[in-house]
Symmetry: C2
Subunit: 343 residues, 2 copies
């Protein structure tokens, strides 16, 4: 098998991690866990011998961050989308820039994976299945009854993995608990192994208009050093859809490989807290803080001292002159705050 | 009856209102409610025809604030204590600087009283009793089963008030609820009407050493414009004791007048929140803030925007580069924080 081509998607802004994540310095490019940024982590975990140099799909807003943070990664090339059209189109752009038989490993650039060896092992298994014509999703072992993620239902076993029986939208708590007890459900982390030609065939079959528009955008695009600019007019005709909806749920060649790798989408402050090691009281502190009678509290400060008394299950963030205080339940609403919306 | 002499005690630092209240600008001198500071409110509520110019007892640390904020109050004089020796000695200093038959109204300078007319009316009643030789405490109507205040137990009626049957220390909640149901208990706000000569007689009787030391301190003190400096050596010999312990609990001439006047000692952030008018959700905001799904939350900010999501019964204060987040229950512990202790 030839080397796996990492296709790193860099899109979202991570507004639920405001005020740390901001339009001018969004989530993937922040060192939220450890010293590397999430984007650098995504590049580096695809740095082994099994992988070819990465292909990054991003927009003009993220481009300066992408190029600065990928500067020391050899052989990087970048596709610069004229506008965001969700993942089905982004993956199609990458597929059209690669040989038909290239196996892509599609990865978001704003997730955290603690166990890189487990990731690489699963990538190799998934790539093998993909090279045989399967469209392969990573099925991430569900560690708790999480209501913030979509789920994958495992079907019958195939050589090296399983058929993918169903995609399930974010469940309510009771359903998530049933999924966990059932054992056949895993989290959908948006990581896919796909043979370029196979993906394009399936896109052609299920979303022919999108396939045509992406082909036109690539045919009429232009190279500029390591950057490729698809044609804006053709790309603008695309209806934005996720790869899950447009292809994975439609095809009868969907498979999954199970993996346990300490994964988190770092979707909000509560998720970021969970990904950190806490002290005995469950508290996580980054920066200047004093906690009294607190449990499961996270404090992140870029300077000012933060003193917290008597609180449970709360996140306090001080960043760039903004102060955020939220419950764990409230963390999902942070993106709707005036500040997070850029006002 | 001659005019009542307001004796305004300016001592404590209000560390539980940190980070707003700080050693260099303590609680009495901050506009915590409305545009006047608590100290200015104390002066102004004794500004009617029934009152003589005020006599202020303070220390060197508060002196600049006292003189700046009392600058437009006519006839103010100040006793500058060499060190803090609690209220029994502070009141004795004032008594010795006044004619024997002067009636003092002893008032803390860091409380809030919403109803000034009710205060003035009670002051006049209390002063009348005091002029007849009673040592008179204000018995503030208990509005709720408060565990943060001391209580006064009402005894038999006397002309214009009641005998004071007992002082009660801060009760637990069950006891506070019994007090409220009983109806004979009121809050001790540290406000007293006392004839100067009577107070000194009683101090002489129950704390003769303190009485002697204060007499020496005044005899050997010096005037400097409107300031009077007691002798530091003599004053240093005094054992610090509250007027409650040293005199009021000892004397058989203790009385009380009941009063309902919207009083609060603004003892901590929870108390300050209670003294404000809240919106329909019970929230109080001062400064730049956005609240989502919050109830009974107070936010005070001197500049930075504060965004709060999903919290109940919490206080967030941003002041001078410090950030405090506390529950209502935790508010009483704020004074013990590293920041509040001046580190």
């Amino acid at each position: 098998m030839s080397a796996i081509v990492p296709v790193i998607l860099s899109g979202g802004n991570g507004t639920r991690l405001w005020p740390r994540s901001r339009p001018e310095m969004p989530k993937p490019f922040l060192p939220l866990l450890g010293e590397e940024t999430l984007f650098q982590q995504a590049l580096n975990r695809c740095g082994g011998a099994a992988f070819a140099p990465p292909l990054i799909v991003t927009g003009t807003a993220h481009l300066p961050h992408v190029e600065a943070q990928a500067a020391i990664t050899p052989g990087v090339s970048v596709i610069v989308e004229p506008e965001g059209k969700n993942t089905a189109a982004a993956v199609a752009l990458a597929a059209l820039r690669l040989p038909e038989d290239a196996v892509m490993l599609v990865c978001p650039s704003d997730h955290h994976i603690a166990d890189r060896a487990a990731f690489a092992e699963a990538a190799i298994s998934a790539a093998k299945l993909a090279s045989e014509g399967w469209l392969v999703a990573f099925g991430i072992e569900a560690e708790r009854p999480e209501t913030g993620y979509g789920y994958l239902l495992r079907g019958e076993a195939v050589e090296g993995g399983y058929r993918l029986a169903a995609f399930v939208e974010k469940p309510d708590l009771a359903t998530a608990e049933r999924f966990l007890a059932d054992g056949g459900y895993s989290w959908n982390g948006g990581i896919f192994a796909l043979r370029a030609g196979t993906y394009l065939e399936e896109l052609e079959r299920h979303r022919p208009e999108m396939a045509r528009a992406v082909r036109d955008a690539v045919a009429n695009g232009r190279d500029e050093g390591s950057r490729f600019y698809p044609d804006a007019g053709a790309f603008g005709r695309i209806e934005a859809e996720s790869i899950d909806y447009a292809v994975m749920e439609e095809t009868d060649r969907a498979a999954m490989v199970p993996v346990s790798m300490g994964w988190s989408d770092i979707g909000d402050w509560r998720a970021l807290q969970s990904a950190h090691l806490a002290d005995d009281a469950g508290n996580v502190v980054s920066g200047n803080a004093e906690l009294e009678d607190c449990r499961n509290v996270m404090v992140v400060s870029d300077g000012p001292r933060v003193s917290v008394v008597g609180l449970d299950d709360v996140v306090v963030v001080v960043d760039g002159g903004e102060v955020l205080v939220t419950t764990h339940a409230g963390a999902q609403k942070v993106g709707k705050l005036t500040g997070a919306r850029g006002s």
